[in-house]
Every structure is written in C-alpha cells, then in structure tokens.
C-alpha cells in the first residue's frame, strides 16, 4: 500500500514542480522573453529541483521506511555487482558472528540461564564444607536443617542418579533423579500433564503403597509416544515399581543444567528399595543437592546469617560422632550460593575456559570488523566518484551515509543469519569436546532470546564499526574538487587515517590470537604426550553393574571371576584384569595411611585403587620390585598391598619397601595393615597435569562386598574387546545392562577436555584471524597498487628498478607491522598474567612462542603483500601513463 501511494505522491510532486516551472516560464514569455531564455531563467530562479524534492519529501514523514527500502534495493544491487567482496564479507561475518553466538550460547546454557521455574532469583543452593567446596548435604543433614531453618519458605533436595529401566524388551540405562517431596512445591513448578510429586509421595517407610513417579516431557514423547494414558502406568526402575502420576514441563530439566532426568522419583522409592541402608538415612551419603527458596523479604545475607547460627547444631546432630573433620563440626560449615541458574558442574569445570574462549572470539570479531571496515573503505573509495555525482545531484550527506550503512547492514544481518545457522554446528563441536564419554551431557543449546539478543547486539556493533564510521569518513567529500580532478591522478591522495589505523590493530590482535593459539596448542600437545605411567593404546575400560544380581558374597566374587576368565579367553583379548577407580576418571578414592616399620613420617594422604590380578601387566605399568596380585591373594589370606614409587620412597626412604607393612588410619576398614608385595612405577591418577600422587593398591579379592569395580582389557582391536565383553556378559549375567565401554585414549582425551577445547578452538580462531588479516593486507595493497598505477608507471619510466618498486609497495606493510607488532606483544604480555594457570609446562612469556607467532604473521603478511607488489613491478609505464 505504502508503495503505490508513495509512487503516486512522487509523481504528483514531480508534476507540481514541473507546473511551477512552466508557469514561471509562461509568465516570462508573456512579458516578452524568448522561450529558451524564459525556461532557463525559471530554472535558475527555482534552484536545484532534486534538492527541493528531497526536502519536500522530508515533510511526508514515514519517509525513512520508503527510503530504507530504496536503500536496501540499491544496496543489494551494489553488493551483487561485487560478488567477490560480498562473498568474502559474508563468510567473514558468518564465521565471526557464528563463533561468538556458539560460545555465548554455551556460556548461557552452562552459566547464565535461569532455571525455568517461577521467581528463580529467590532460589539459593546450600553446600557442606568450607566455602568454595561444593559438596552436597546428606539426608539427615537436610532433615535437621529443614527443621531448624527460618529463612526459607522451604528446602528441597535433589539427587541425580543414573537408573536402569526394565521393560519387556530388556533393561536399558536411563537418566533419573531422586527428589524430596518438597522439591516441586518449593520450585513452584506446574505439571505439563497430571500432577507432580508432593510430600505425600515422599513419606519414607510409608509401607507398600504405590510410589509415584514423574517423567520428563521428552521421555514422555519419545518413549510413550505422548500418550496421555501414561498416567497411572507402572514403571520398573532399578528393580522397584513406581506409578507414573505426571509429566514435567519441557522447559524444566532438573536442577542440574547438564543433566536431564527422564524419571524423577521421591526418595521414598530408594527407601522402599534399600530400607534402612538407603542413602536417605546414611550420614555419610552426601549426595543431597540442597536448594532453598528465600522467604519474601529475606535477603541472601540474612539467610547466610541464619544458616551460620544453626549450622553447628545441624551438623552435630547429623554427622556420625567419629566424624573425621572436626573442624567442619566446630565451624559449622554450611554455606550458600545463589541458585538462580541451578547447579552446573560442567560450568564449574569449564567456566574459565569458556570465558577465555569468549574473549578469543570477541577478539576475532574485532578483527572481522576491522577487516570489513577497511574492505568497505577501500571499496567505497573506489566509488567516490559515484558518491560525488550523487551528492551533486542533490543527495544529502545523511542520505549517502544511510546508503552506505544500509549496505553494511544488509551484509551484516545476512551474515548474522548465516552465523546463527553456523553456530549450531560450532556449538555441537564445542559440546563434543566437553562431553565425557561415560556421561552423556544434556545441554539445551537451541537459540533463545538471550543468544539472539547477543547476536543482534554484535551485528549492530558490527554495522556501526564497518558501516557508519567509514561512511561518515567517506562522505566528507569535496564535490567540486573531485569533479574537476576526475578519477585518475598521478600522485594519490593520502589514504584515510581510519584505514591506516585499522591494519596495525588487526596485526596486533592477530598476533595476540596467534600467540595464544600456539601457547594453548603446545601446552595441550605436551599434556597429550606426557607419559601417564600406563599404556593408552589398546586399553579398554568396562563398567559393570551387578547390583541387581541375586548372587551375594562369595557368589558375587565368583561372578566377577567367571567374567574375567571369559574376557581372558576371548579371541583378540591379550590381557584382562579389574580396576576400581579408572585412571584419569572422574572419581578417585583416598585414605590416610602410615608405615608400621621404621621411624619414617607417620601418616600420609594417599590415593587408593583396588585392582584385580595381573592388573599392572594389563595396564602396562612397570612393576619395579616384587610381584603382582594373584588369584591366591584372597580374603582370609595375608592382606597385601602395592605402593607406587612415590608412596614407597615417602614411607620407606632409602630402603626396600618389600615385606614392610602399611597401616590404614581410616576407621571401619577391614584391611587394617597390609604387607607391601610390590613397588610399581608412578602412574597419573586423576589428572595428567599433576605429578603422579603417592598411591596404594589393594587386591580386589581381599575386599568382601566391594562393589565399585570394573574390567580393563588390552587388545589390538577395541571392537574385539567390546565383543568379548558383550558375549561374556550375555553368558554370565544375561539381564545386566550394558554400560558403554570407553577406551583409555578417550578417557585420557576426556580428562583434558578443557585443554583440548581451548587448544583446538584457539588454533581455529587464531588461523582465522591470521587469514582475515592477510586478506585485509592484500586488499589494501592491491588497492594501493591500483590507485598508484600512474605514479608507479612514471617512476618506472624515470628508471626505477623492479626492486625499488617492490620496496615502494612493501614499505607500507612494513610500517603496519612496525606499529602493530609491538602493540600485539604488549597485549600478549598483559594477557599472559591471566592464562598462565591454564598452561602446562610452558611459560606464557616464552620468547620462542612470540618469535614463532611474529614469524608466522610476517610470512603471512609478506605473502599477502607480495602479490600486489609483484603486480606493481609489472606495470607497463606506457599503459599506465596513457590514462593521464
């Protein structure tokens, strides 16, 4: 509608002004003037018709819309005329904006996004231990705290637990969680279907009543086909039966951001399964992730103060009397953190790296902008003649600026759209680095309002940097001078100061990115090649869950033995054994122990592992002295243990540890003292970064009722080991769920996921930065050569040598580097302070890194400038000067 009305108005205005002119001319003719003379005089008197139209149109209002459409149409046409520039710019923007959006969406998901519950700002998390540690509470601790507190409307506890779903078709692992009955009321969550859990569902020991369960919407849709009849259906989980009473809304995925429970059960379910030994009642079972909702009017600080006054009593009443950490008891260690975003273990681990990455992609975006701005500048400089003509025909400066800005806005926002699409892939890539293979990560990375807002903000900033600033510079045109002089001049005008200052900035930032990339890459490379003290190649680890097997005690041991024998005899498996705490895995075991003999130091904090016979031969850890555990180190025989070198030399310095005894100071251990039968080489335990800690190994066969053990195999081919494990399990314990196996290689890579993430991405971004800067330099030099063809021709005609011309062109690049490199070095020096902790065995101020980065940048820059420079030396003076 606006279109045709506008067209009509335009035509009307045209006619109105034309009638003015002709009436004026008519009057003059009547007064006796010659027709031609009269028309000329009328026109002279009237002034600039275009400009009058323009200022009149201004009065129409709404004009910006029509103009905007004009600008957009014209902009599209101009962009279509320079497909090369458009493609490069779009790609640059898509990569820049895509990377920023991807990293930000991860930060948003892990660290920023609120839980999808009403008034999430009122939620707090409560932890046990000194401030900074994030240990959950125990069931009794939660109960005592809930009785005494007065700052919260209610408290809730939540425990994520992988579960096994048993159906007609077989058993399969699912994600589950236990919640107190207070959880959903305190979160103020409404059901998607049916109802959610309440206190009535969570009366521990309420007998054999049906226990209620709620399921997630995703699980409801995938598994039950979205059938509303699911309500009232029984579900068999972990060997117990519950009744589905409701479906949670899709926006709510539990209180842990990277874990989405498919089934949520009341703790009463666990009590029904395990009775008095349920985690619900055990003082040492600290898995109750506790949150509270602040009462209206109670501040965070007041709640913290309330907690401090009752914490001592709560802990005294809920911890066992022989609790080791007396300091916790004395100081009443319970503390609060804001709970708006829920619990984010991955956020804790990756927070720092993600912000580092965000800084890197932010830098990259600045380089992108600088690059586009200088491309835009040089492109517009080439169009200066056009701008001058348009200005002479009556286009206002603002109009010209808008035209140029419209072009960059079109570019940027289509680049941003492409970037959002691209960011989905980049996010998936990021998550694959973060993901630990034995623990599926659930992250909701669908673009949401926050990520869109950030993307649009970045895009707008980009438009300002790449469109508005250059446009303002360029439209300060001196029309007459330009019109008079024409396009070609022998000595080019001085380049724009803006363009001149952009390149050194790009060089400096690229240098920074390149150095960071090198640092992270080398650091990660060192980590990957560090000797962990065990074999990596060919090793596969298997978790196994025999918990629901009927066999107990000696029969359970036999089950493991049969399984181990099955693995050992399987084709393709070279060796097999058992291990409890996976090397470089998520969890470890520790204890305090001391030597019995000698007058060495008393006790030491030790890492602990429980392994099967011939473990060290299987894992490839050297036995330095003594013998491995064997089948004969059974329960009832002499308790034996093995020390690693670090532990042995600590307890028994300058003497052989063999035959000596070590006493554990942990209470309630059957293995009071043990005889050291071997000393083995140090092996990394939890982290590749840290030196191998003093470690003690126990024989699995000597620990009755020890459940946390898995299998380890060595084979040429992983698939052979996996097949052997599957076959063995099917034969030995058919209804056991198959947990996903993991190779040692993957385990090792997972354990340095953050480092690999930072290294891979900083290399990628660093490379991109380098490429963009090279393109920028190339573009600038190219344009310089083109603009100065006449001058170069003249110089060659006057006898300049090719190498003089080469230098003439390269000189400019040299200046750019001379300014940019020191700035870049200063930036790295400043940044080194922040990244030092993220590096392994390399100093962030290693001069070799700086040299390498500078050399890389210089060669890229030289390459980029040498092509235009070569073109300059080939200028034919005759051709060049003929234009003048």
């Amino acid at each position: 509608m606006i279109f045709w009305r506008r067209k009509t108005r335009e035509a009307e205005l045209d006619e109105e002004l034309r009638s003015h002119l002709s009436m004026d001319a008519q009057t003059r003719i009547e007064r006796g003037a010659d027709r031609k003379e009269a028309e000329r005089a009328a026109r002279r008197e009237f002034g600039n018709v275009g400009l009058v139209k323009e200022v009149t149109r201004d009065e129409w209002g709404r004009r910006w819309l029509g103009d905007l459409l004009d600008d957009a149409r014209y902009g599209l046409r101009m962009l279509g005329k320079t497909p090369g520039f458009t493609a490069v710019a779009m790609l640059t923007l898509a990569l820049g904006i895509g990377s920023n959006t991807a990293v930000f969406s991860l930060i948003d998901a892990l660290l920023l996004r609120s839980l999808a519950v009403p008034a999430p700002g009122e939620l707090v998390q409560i932890f046990f231990g000194p401030p900074g540690t994030k240990d959950p509470l125990s069931g009794p601790m939660f109960d005592r705290l809930r009785e005494r507190q007065s700052a919260f409307t209610d408290l809730l506890a939540w425990m994520n637990a992988p579960m096994v779903l048993t159906e007609k078709g077989g058993a399969r692992p699912i994600t589950g969680a236990y919640a107190t009955g207070s959880a959903f009321p305190a979160l103020k969550l409404k059901a998607r279907l049916g109802r959610l859990l309440s206190w009535h569902d969570d009366q521990p020991g309420s007998g054999s009543n049906e226990i209620a369960a709620v399921i997630s919407e995703a699980f409801w849709l995938d598994h039950f086909g979205g059938d509303p009849g699911v309500l009232g259906q029984p579900i068999t989980v972990d060997g117990g039966v519950a009744t589905i009473v409701g479906v949670m809304p899709s926006s709510f995925n539990g209180i842990t951001v990277d874990y989405a429970p498919q089934v949520v059960l009341p703790f009463a379910f666990d009590v029904a399964l395990h009775g008095e030994s349920s985690c619900r009642f055990r003082a040492t079972c600290t898995w109750f992730h506790t949150m509270g909702r602040l009462k209206p009017g109670v501040s965070f600080a007041q709640a913290q103060a309330n907690l401090a006054t009752i914490a001592g009593d709560v802990l005294k009443d809920s911890l066992p009397s022989n609790y080791q950490r007396v300091d916790y008891l004395r100081n009443g260690m319970l503390w609060l953190t804001p709970g708006r975003t829920g619990n984010s273990p991955l956020g804790e681990i990756y927070g720092r790296e993600l912000w580092t990455l965000q800084a890197l992609v932010g830098l990259l975006m600045i380089i992108c902008c600088a690059n586009l701005a200088s491309l835009e500048l040089s492109r517009t400089l080439d169009r200066q003649h056009e701008l001058v003509v348009r200005s002479a025909l009556g286009a206002g400066r603002l109009r010209l600026v808008r035209q140029l800005v419209a072009e960059s806005a079109i570019l940027t926002f289509s680049g941003a759209a492409a970037g959002i699409v691209l960011s989905q892939w980049i996010s998936a890539l990021l998550v694959s680095y973060i993901e630990q293979s034995d623990f599926p990560v659930f992250l909701d990375l669908r673009p949401n309002a926050a990520t869109f807002a950030v993307t649009i903000a970045i895009a707008t900033l980009t438009v300002i940097l790449t469109g508005v600033l250059p446009a303002l510079h360029l439209t300060r045109v001196h029309t007459e001078e330009m019109l008079r002089s024409g396009a070609q001049r022998t000595v080019a005008r001085k380049r724009h100061p803006l363009a001149a200052s952009l390149l050194p900035v790009q060089v400096a930032l690229s240098l920074l990115l390149a150095s960071l990339a090198l640092l992270f890459a080398i650091s990660t490379g060192k980590l990957l090649h560090v000797d962990p003290g065990f074999r990596v190649k060919g090793i596969t680890l298997f978790a196994v869950d025999f918990e629901r097997r009927p066999e107990k005690g000696e029969a359970r041991l036999d089950l493991y033995r049969t399984m181990l024998a099955a693995l050992r005899h399987a084709p393709g498996v070279e060796a097999a054994s058992m291990i409890a705490a996976r090397p470089l895995g998520e969890g470890g075991m520790d204890e305090s122990a001391g030597p019995v003999e000698g007058n060495g130091p008393e006790t030491k904090h030790l890492f602990e592992n429980v392994v099967g016979p011939e473990y060290f031969a299987t894992a490839g850890t050297k036995v330095l002295a003594g013998r491995e555990f064997s089948e004969f180190d059974r329960f009832g025989r002499t308790p034996v243990c093995i020390l690693n070198q670090a532990a042995a030399s600590f307890f028994f310095p300058r003497q052989s540890a063999l035959g000596k005894h070590v006493r554990s100071t942990e209470p309630n251990t059957a293995r009071d003292t043990c005889e050291v039968v071997a000393v083995v080489a140090d092996a990394k335990y939890l982290s590749l970064r840290e030196p191998a800690p003093p470690t003690i190994y126990y024989s699995y066969e000597q620990l009755p009722n020890f459940e946390w053990i898995g299998f380890i195999t060595r084979s040429h081919d992983t698939s052979a080991a996996v097949a052997a494990f599957k076959n063995g399990l099917r034969r030995v314990a058919p209804d056991t769920p198959l947990l996903p196996p993991i190779t040692m290689q993957r385990q090792l890579e997972d354990s340095i996921g953050k480092e690999r993430l930072t290294a891979a991405l900083s290399l990628f971004f660093g490379g991109l930065g380098l490429l963009l800067t090279s393109i920028g330099l190339y573009g600038l030099q190219n344009q310089r050569v083109a603009r100065r063809t006449a001058e170069i021709g003249l110089r060659i005609a006057l006898g300049a040598q090719p190498k003089d011309m080469l230098w003439f062109i390269l000189r400019e690049a040299a200046v750019v580097f001379a300014i940019g490199v020191p700035i870049g070095l200063a930036l790295i020096f400043a940044a080194s302070h922040f990244i030092g902790v993220e590096l392994y065995q390399i100093s962030p101020r290693d001069p070799r890194i700086y040299c390498a980065a500078v050399m890389t940048l210089l060669s890229a820059g030289f390459l980029a400038s040498s092509i235009p420079a070569r073109r300059a030396t080939n200028v034919d003076p005759m051709v060049a000067l003929r234009y003048e």
């Binding site: 109105e16 002004l17 009638s19 009436m23 009237f46 600039n48 200022v55 129409w60």
Partner: protein, 118 residues
Amino acid sequence: MPEKKERYQNRIELLQGTLDLLILQTLQWGPQHGYGISVAIRNRSGEILQVDTGSLYPALHRLEKQKWIKPEWKVSENKQRAKYYQLTAAGKKQLSRERSKWSQLSDAMAGVLNPGQM
C-alpha cells in the same frame, strides 16, 4: 554543493513560523497553486519577500499534512494541470491563531525597539 544545502536549511528554520502564516494568509483569498502563492507573496510584499522554492514546497506539504490546507488538482488559466491548495476550517482557525501571535510579537518588538512611543 553541501554549502548550498545548508543555506536552504537555514532559510527553512528562519522562516518557519512566518512562512506558514504568509501561506495561510495568501490562501484566504482563494485556492492557489505553489507558483501563484510565491508570486502573490512577492507582489504583496512589494518584491521584498522572495520565497525560496526549497522552503515553499516543504512548507506546503507540511501544512497539508497537518490538514490546515487541502490540495486539489485543477486546470489553470493557461490550460495546465496544477495542484491548488485550499484553506480548511482548521486552517482558518490556525490562521487567526497565527495572526494574533504575530501581532503580539510585532507589538512586543515595537515596544522594545521604540520604547518611548508606547
């Protein structure tokens, strides 16, 4: 070229209120087209007030937008289609408002410039 444009803009601002009054006043004697208005103002002011087209047409379109004048396409005396503007009822009210404002202004100016005569 930019200087020229600035000149126009200065004029518009300088004449804004006054030009509107002049146009409305001119239209009180009957519908008139842009050229006619500029000629009328020039003649009636004894050739002193020269209205710039760059000010006149924006002013006409502005007054039209405010519904003080309404346009009509008619054929002029010398058989040419031209856009005639006509004063509306609202325009007449506006004219009397502007007139009284103007006379207040000119009285005030006179008082300041010739203090003895008041």
